[in-house]
């Protein structure tokens, strides 16, 4: 005669289906609220209020003036450097020009700061072109490394909008 003890009986009886239901609900909740966002990076611009002397020594070099002209739709119409050279809407040419202006590129912390770039843009120029300009001027990618060109960028006074 087989003796079945009570504990044996109960151990096999515990129903887990409710817990699995709740667990699935939780999982579906997390899957629905999870959002995959693209990685974001920053361009750091240090801009103290104009008129204050920056650092102990005044900047001997004149900044490179970049004039960005926009068409009626806000797209880039012309890039003019130092009021002399015009690159149209070709950012690659702009980068090539900056590369030859910064001999050897500015790598790592160095005492001699590179040139400064001043951006003068039309009020209606779309922001993505401003970013493209800053990208072309700040550096370029060689494989996985980033070669930095210009470290200092500032904005000229905003041109008042027509409206």
């Amino acid at each position: 005669m087989r003796i079945k003890s009570k504990s044996d009986d109960n151990a096999g009886q515990l129903s887990l289906t409710s817990m699995i239901d709740v667990v699935f609900l939780l999982l579906i909740f997390f899957v629905m609220t999870f959002k995959i966002a693209a990685q974001e990076g920053d361009f750091n611009v240090k801009m103290p209020l104009q008129g204050q002397p920056s650092g102990p020594s005044e900047e001997p070099e004149l900044p490179i003036k970049l004039r960005l002209k926009a068409d009626a739709a806000g797209n880039i119409a012309d890039i003019v450097v130092n009021d002399s050279q015009s690159f149209g809407n070709d950012f690659a040419k702009l980068r090539a020009f900056i590369v030859q202006m910064t001999p050897g590129g500015v790598e790592g912390p160095s005492d001699a700061k590179g040139p400064e770039v001043e951006l003068d843009l039309d009020y209606g120029l779309k922001y993505e072109f401003v970013v493209s300009t800053i990208t072309s001027v700040t550096g370029y990618k060689q494989g996985d490394d980033i070669i930095r060109l210009v470290e200092r960028i500032k904005f000229a006074a905003p041109r008042k909008s027509a409206n």
């Binding site: 667990v23 974001e40 920053d42 361009f43 750091n44 611009v45 103290p48 843009l121 990618k141 905003p158």
Partner: protein, 146 residues
């Protein structure tokens, strides 16, 4: 002696590994989920840049502002325009001062829509500079892998 036949349940495959996997998934999502809205705003499409690289460390004293293409600024739970952003910025300066810092220690992170007029960003930067902010970060997103 009548033998009572115990009814057996329909044979069910062992569910333990599946429940283990489900717990793993839940743990994964619980660790990664981020409910704070400060860093993201679905209305803003950031411009892309090939040089976009996440900053080495979190900026100290960050103040995140979202700028939509029509010039509306979203800051935390507040909405303002470039002209009416001053009170919100003054609040931020007050917060910094209460932590024994100055406005120049604050990092303004600007997340602007890619079609926003460049002049609006300049105006916004000028408004922040008027209150003493000096450090700005223009946020961009990585280019999609082609």
């Amino acid at each position: 002696m009548a033998r009572k036949k115990f009814s057996t349940k329909a044979a069910e495959g062992d569910m333990t590994p599946m429940i283990d996997m489900v717990f793993q998934l839940i743990a994964f999502f619980m660790v990664l989920i981020n409910f704070s809205q400060d860093d993201q705003n679905a209305k803003i499409t950031l411009p892309t840049s090939e040089l976009a690289k996440p900053a080495e460390g979190a900026a100290e004293f960050p103040i995140v502002m979202h700028l939509d293409k029509d010039g509306t600024i979203y800051m935390g739970a507040n909405t303002a325009s470039v002209d009416s952003i001053r009170p919100l910025l003054s609040t931020e300066v007050a917060v910094l001062v209460s932590q024994s810092k100055a406005a120049s220690d604050g990092n303004i992170i600007i997340r602007a829509h890619k079609d926003a007029p460049g002049g609006k960003i300049q105006d916004l930067i000028n408004k922040c500079q008027e209150l003493g902010f000096e450090k700005f970060a223009l946020r961009v997103k990585e280019e999609e892998v082609k």
